[in-house]
């Protein structure tokens, strides 16, 4: 079925166009993003159960962007009477004027930025989904998730608890400007199983996750996620520590994705170029990885939780080849940064929600596939680790450092997995060294959308990342 576009936004559209018309008398350019995204989040464990109608992406509100004399400003609001657009326009003008008065009082100089492109465009897109979150039978879902939790407790060893979570959001967004009317509707869902275990005073938590740009039908059978969580929980309880040093590593697709995200995801967000905060700006056209490294970024480069039709500034979604056989080709860019840099936006202008500013943000970030089998990769390692499971990562676009905290590593000695597991694994290094060391790439490729991404330590958005198995060299600690 198609995910139907929001009736609320459909009804609001003519009112918002009226508002933009009123504001055009005072500003050189005016546009609006309106959102109406509903969803649910259910978490079931043996100790506590929660049901909420709120997820990371549920929201309802409007943000108006205006530009006058090259100065861009925005007003975000969710409390207004649709029948009184003149009153709302006055509120917006008043709020921004109060800020301008403070800026003048402290004598703050400002940049002048050209007007955003507003070529005529109309788009109405409703993505396919199996079911809708607003129609989901929540009592039945509670029953299914409870059964999985009970199974986890019965089948697992050393269990403290087995938590099962499911959340789904029906995203509806509408971008309006003088010449553009873009509307999109799609559903994303994510969930999984968390096994919490303890043995001999050691407590660990292991996950099995699923995420898709689909509806709550993806929660109909979470048995594979349960099996993964139970297996990994035992591995973590028996895991040792790595002896710090440089190792041959093979990254599983989820860890490959983490590297893609932290290395040349954040590293080529071009709003960082505007601030001269990214080393990548100096390396366009230069080698940053081995011949085997090709990396794509874009809402269109796969179908996952970050796949949409247009971004939060009304730019159509794209698919950018950031690295082509080791050569850095380009970055990703939001609309206002593109105007500053004299380039074109790539459909990567995203907000945490309507109340937040747009930044250049990742969507789906993936390494391309190769031709080496995983078996051949393992056989080629004298001493090293196969890394699986993602805990967290941190970007460093200015210096190209990388920090990836990986959940576990499987020891490889003389071309064979020994059965020994280490956890956690802190992988650090210099991005070009790490990508330059990539020597084998497998044909299979996966994308994962269970996590969130912050800019610095805030502005959380949904992203996906992934790739194939990669063989490289890295420092583990």
């Amino acid at each position: 079925m198609k995910a139907p576009f929001s009736p609320y936004l459909t009804a609001l559209a003519p009112r918002l166009k009226e508002l933009l018309g009123i504001l055009r008398a005072d500003y050189d350019q005016v546009s609006a993003l309106a959102t109406d995204s509903a969803g649910f989040a259910v978490q079931i464990s043996q100790r506590a159960k929660t049901v909420r109608s709120e997820t990371m992406m549920t929201e309802r509100g409007v943000v108006v962007r205006v530009c006058r004399n090259g100065q861009y400003s925005e007003a975000a609001f969710n409390d207004f009477d649709p029948a009184d657009m003149a009153g709302l326009a006055e509120r917006i003008r008043g709020a921004l004027a109060a800020q301008e008065a403070v800026l003048r009082a402290v004598d703050t100089p400002a940049y002048a930025t050209p007007l955003q492109s507003d070529e005529p465009l109309t788009l109405f897109w409703e993505a396919e989904t199996g079911r809708l979150p607003e129609d989901e039978d929540i009592p039945a879902l509670i029953g299914r998730l409870s059964a999985i939790s009970d199974r986890g407790m019965a089948e697992g060893k050393d269990m403290i608890d087995c938590a099962v979570r499911a959340q789904s959001t029906h995203v509806c967004k509408m971008f309006l400007s003088e010449h553009r009317d873009l509307r999109q509707s799609y559903v994303i869902s994510e969930g999984g199983v968390i096994a919490m275990v303890t043995r001999g005073g050691r407590t660990e938590m292991a996950r099995g996750s699923v995420a898709e740009r689909l509806g709550p039908e993806i929660f109909d059978d979470l048995s594979p996620q349960l099996a993964e969580a139970l297996e990994v929980s035992q591995e973590l309880l028996g895991a040792g520590r790595v002896e710090p040093g440089m190792y041959d590593i093979i990254t599983a697709p989820d860890v490959s994705g983490l590297i893609a995200h932290e290395a040349f995801g954040h590293g080529v967000e071009m709003d960082m170029f505007v601030k001269e905060r990214a080393l990548g700006a100096q390396y366009i056209g230069k080698r940053v990885g081995s011949d085997r490294v090709t990396m794509h970024e874009g809402a269109n480069c796969t179908v996952q939780v970050a796949s949409y039709a247009f971004d939060d500034e009304g730019t159509l979604a794209g698919d950018v080849t950031e690295i082509d056989r080791g050569i850095l080709r380009t970055g990703i860019c939001d609309a206002l940064s593109a105007l500053r840099l004299g380039t074109v936006p790539t459909g990567n202008g995203k907000r945490e929600n309507y109340a937040h500013k747009v930044y250049t943000r990742m969507t789906n970030t993936l390494f391309d596939s190769g031709e080496d089998s995983l078996e051949d990769m393992i056989a080629s390692v004298k001493k090293g680790y196969l890394l699986r499971g993602v805990n967290s990562g941190m970007e460093d676009p200015k210096h190209w450092g990388i920090q990836c905290i990986v959940e576990r590593g499987y020891e490889i000695i003389d071309g064979r997995l020994t059965g020994k597991v280490i956890s956690p694994v802190v992988m650090t290094g210099y991005v070009p060294d790490l990508l330059g060391s990539v020597s084998m790439v497998s044909p299979d490729r996966e994308a994962f959308g269970s996590g969130g991404c912050g800019k610095g330590h805030k502005e959380w958005v949904k992203v996906s990342d992934g790739g194939p198995y990669l063989k490289a060299k890295a420092r583990l600690g």
């Binding site: 159960k49 049901v51 109608s53 609001f77 409390d79 004598d107 100089p109 905060r277 941190m394 956690p424």
Partner: protein, 431 residues
């Protein structure tokens, strides 16, 4: 007309079969300024108001209490709100949690707080950043200023009706230092209530100094197990581990086995940790007298000289542990230890002042972080180092850790100015 609290309450009271309810109306007026090299890139105004509604349904004669929660936008029509409330009532009946009670009024009046002057606070932030001492070799790259006036009004079916008003400020700043064509940056995210001009100057001044030092840093050697000093906000992660493990949520879920009256660490030989829960610290970013469920926040001791004293937490898990008068405090203060900061710095050690992202796993106490800047002290000589990582477990470090007598406040948490962990594994860049 948009949805008002009284109209929503009227609809909630009319829901058949809801045994209890709670509503929070949160209003924010936000001012935001985005600066690059001292020039304005963009400014933004936020005016938002949202209701968060929870309905409760008792099951099996009060043996269980289910609940379901939903946001309701002020633009929701009465018909839309009625549909949401009906869904909540239905869903709550299928959520089977052991029974607990909602917060009840304590009979004491709430002290009124004046509405924050967002314009004045914003001006203070902008002036402080404008006048920050900068040099040709070290300066402010960019800054984002967020000033928010928050108002929360909470009403529940037990008679609680409380309102909190407070300012919440935040500056995200990036500083640069450069020499001979080489440039480095450091990142800061500094939260407060209103503008703490002196604190902002001190912390950004430190960042400028650290960034200059980073220019001359050499790769961190492989140190094996060594003494590591924490003298920046990374220490909040260390003490957060102690605080989290005393939460009723972690204790009820059996993730933490810490019990009141027992040592939090067996065989402790170092300084013993004392943690106080507080309604406020000076100019913290949340200073409401009540927590999110309407419980009044009173000071109490969480950990007393290494002995678990009293847990903190939300109503549900606190009730399950028999702590019906508990709350979620806004702030915590960790009492200082036995030595001065300079005494802790006297021996050989690595003092790490910049991590890419230092973390302590709340489940198992594992620490992890990439070193971006550290001062390695060996044999009376100090070397500035960068790269490599730290690892180990707080479960072991807590037995021997030392804390300085001096303390320092990071927004809602006051911690010892210097914390020493012994036997930390440092993976260096140089073998």
């Amino acid at each position: 007309m948009t949805m008002k609290m009284e109209a929503l309450l009227e609809q909630i009271r009319a829901v058949q079969g809801a045994d209890a309810w709670s509503v929070t109306e949160r209003t924010e007026e936000g001012w935001e300024f985005y600066l690059i090299r001292g020039r304005l890139d963009q400014h933004r105004a936020r005016q938002t108001r949202t209701f968060s509604v929870t309905l409760y349904a008792a099951q099996e004669d009060g043996k269980y209490l289910g609940s379901a929660n939903a946001p309701i936008a002020p633009t929701a029509t009465p018909e839309e709100a009625a549909r949401i409330l009906a869904d909540l009532r239905l869903r709550a009946a299928y959520v089977r949690n052991p029974f607990y009670t909602l917060v009840r009024p304590d009979g004491r009046p709430a002290e009124p707080a004046p509405a924050p002057d967002t314009a004045a606070i914003a001006r203070d932030f902008l002036v402080t950043l404008r006048d920050l001492p900068q040099t040709a070799d070290a300066d402010l790259n960019s800054a984002e200023v967020f000033v928010t006036a928050v108002r929360e009004h909470l009403v529940n079916s037990e008679g609680v009706d409380v309102t909190g008003v407070w300012p919440s400020g935040m500056v995200e700043a990036v500083v640069n230092a450069r020499r001979d064509g080489h440039e480095v940056e450091l990142y800061r995210m500094l939260r407060s209530g209103s503008c703490d001009a002196e604190g902002l100057r001190r912390q950004l001044g430190d960042a400028l100094r650290f960034s200059r030092d980073r220019l001359g840093a050499v790769p961190t050697p492989a140190l094996g197990k060594t003494t590591v000093l924490f003298s920046t906000d990374a220490a909040c992660q260390i003490y957060g581990w102690f605080i989290d493990r005393m939460s009723t949520g972690m204790r009820y879920r059996r993730i933490s086995d810490w019990e009141p009256g027992k040592p939090v660490v067996d065989g402790a030989e170092g300084d013993l940790v004392t943690v106080e829960a507080l309604p406020a610290l000076p100019n913290a970013s949340r200073t409401c007298a009540f927590d999110a469920e309407g419980a009044r926040i009173e000071p109490f001791t969480v950990i007393d000289k290494g002995i678990a004293a009293r847990s903190w937490g939300g109503r549900q898990f606190s009730c399950y542990l028999g702590l019906e008068d508990s709350c979620v405090p806004n702030c915590f203060a960790v009492t200082g230890g036995s030595m001065g900061a300079e005494e802790l710095r006297a021996g050989d050690h690595l003092e790490i002042v910049e991590f890419s992202d230092f973390q302590v796993d709340p489940f198992n106490g594992d620490i992890a972080g990439e070193i971006r800047l550290g001062y390695l002290r060996r044999g009376g000589e100090t070397t500035v180092v960068t790269g490599g990582s730290v690892s180990g477990s707080m479960a072991e470090f807590a037995k021997t850790m030392r804390m300085s007598r001096e303390t320092v406040q990071y927004d809602t948490l006051s911690v010892p100015a210097v914390t020493a962990l012994y036997g930390v594994t440092v993976a260096g860049v140089e073998e």
